[in-house]
Amino acid sequence: MNVLTEALVWLNDPLTWTRSDGIIDLTVEHLVMTAIAVAIAAVFAIPLGAWLGHTGQGSGAMVTLGNATRAVPTLGIILLLAAGGLFGNGAAVLAAAIFAVPVLLVNSYEGVRGADPAARDAGRGMGMSGTRVLFQVELPLATGLIAAGLRTTIVQVVATIPLAALAGGGGLGQIIAFGMGTQRYGQVLAGGIVVALLALVLDGVLAVAQRLVTPAPLRVNGRPRRPRKAPVEP
């Protein structure tokens, strides 16, 4: 358990945390990169997904996109972007944004598309225009799924950003990459623990946030209610 001791000693040193480019600095950098990547993806994916869901187009493309992007290795894309001249952080942020788009797109699409048809009809019957139905009926009903999509996306991006370190970028992955490069495996272990904890804590915080933004009637155990098969009349 020599490595474990080494990791604990390293983590226990206040300087590890507070020096410039210490854990605190790297965490801030990590979170800023995450925020930029998620923002880029959200600006693009949520309006598009909502609009496609509203018009009901492109459901086949949605499924294909979701499946296809899963097969593409993120590391390959980051390294390709980096080799294309977009270095370290930029490459990782862009790659993370690219991989965040399908999740957000599918969730906003499904959320808007899955809005109760009776509610949509009621909106139309009250004389709402198509756009008003989208903004005042379908989108509020979709908040649960969109929030769930954002949570998944943020956690996924936080997990992707460490790969930046392999392409010469920053963020918390640096601790792991640097530790491997210098064969200080205690630091590798410590870096892994820090990254894992960040992801877990963020997921926990977001779970609470997700519950808060989901309108009360839509909440069921923190998940948006989706009607199951209707009971058959005898």
Partner: protein
């Protein structure tokens, strides 16, 4: 500065041996991880779907574990297990296990209670209900889990490069280190996608062969 094309067929031809070697390494690692995960996850899924209180704990733990980034998991396992293949394999098994487990439980839960009742009414014991009714009915869901796990695993193997065993990821990284040799990174990335597609289609075909009644129903 020498030309640095995004894709070069010459590179692929001249380095066919290296590419093949890494693709095989990648494929073997993936198949091994998914196979081990299946052997653990399916029986565990059966157990969990019978014992309700266990389901919450197991699925909850699985969800938490799934949140841990793969890079972090490899980084935690490598110093403890030694650099190289073992930590990558164990990490991959862990993630694949979660996906397959979730789908097995979901598949078993979704079996029509009327069908189970009918089987019991015909005098089937619990073991026969499981083998002849529940499992065949849950099979499509399990296969879907297998496909998802396989495709994600293929992509995740590349992250293993951080602990020195990443299959095709090794080539990507080497290309990056080697003066941003785009053709090498691109070839390895494409090989990775291709491998995922091939394995996915293979499992899909296998699943179809195992559930011939689904085809008949649709026709």
């Amino acid at each position: 500065m020498a030309a640095n094309p995004w894709f070069s067929w010459t590179y692929v031809v001249e380095n066919a041996d290296t590419l093949w070697e890494h693709t095989v390494q990648h494929a073997v690692l993936t198949v091994e991880a998914v196979a081990i995960a299946t052997v653990i996850a399916v029986p565990l899924g059966i157990l969990v779907s019978r014992i309700r209180w266990l389901a919450g704990i197991v699925i909850g733990t699985a969800a938490v574990l799934y949140t841990v980034p793969s890079l972090a998991l490899f980084a935690i396992l490598a110093p403890l297990l030694g650099i190289g293949r073992t930590p990558v394999l164990i990490g991959l098994v862990a993630y694949a296990l979660l996906v397959i487990l979730r789908n097995t439980v979901a598949g078993l839960d979704a079996v029509d209670p009327a069908v189970l009742d009918a089987a019991r009414g015909l005098g089937y014991g619990p073991g026969r209900v499981l083998v002849h009714v529940s499992l065949p009915n849950a099979l499509p869901s399990v296969v879907a889990g297998l496909r998802l796990a396989t495709v994600s695993t293929v992509a995740m193997v590349t992250v293993g490069v951080v602990v020195g065993y990443g299959g095709l990821g090794q080539l990507m990284f080497q290309g990056f280190r080697n003066n941003f040799y785009r053709a090498e990174i691109m070839a390895a990335t494409l090989a990775c996608v291709l491998l995922a597609v091939v394995l996915d289609v293979a499992i899909w075909a296998g699943g179809r062969a195992l559930t011939p009644w689904r085809e008949r129903r649709r026709a």
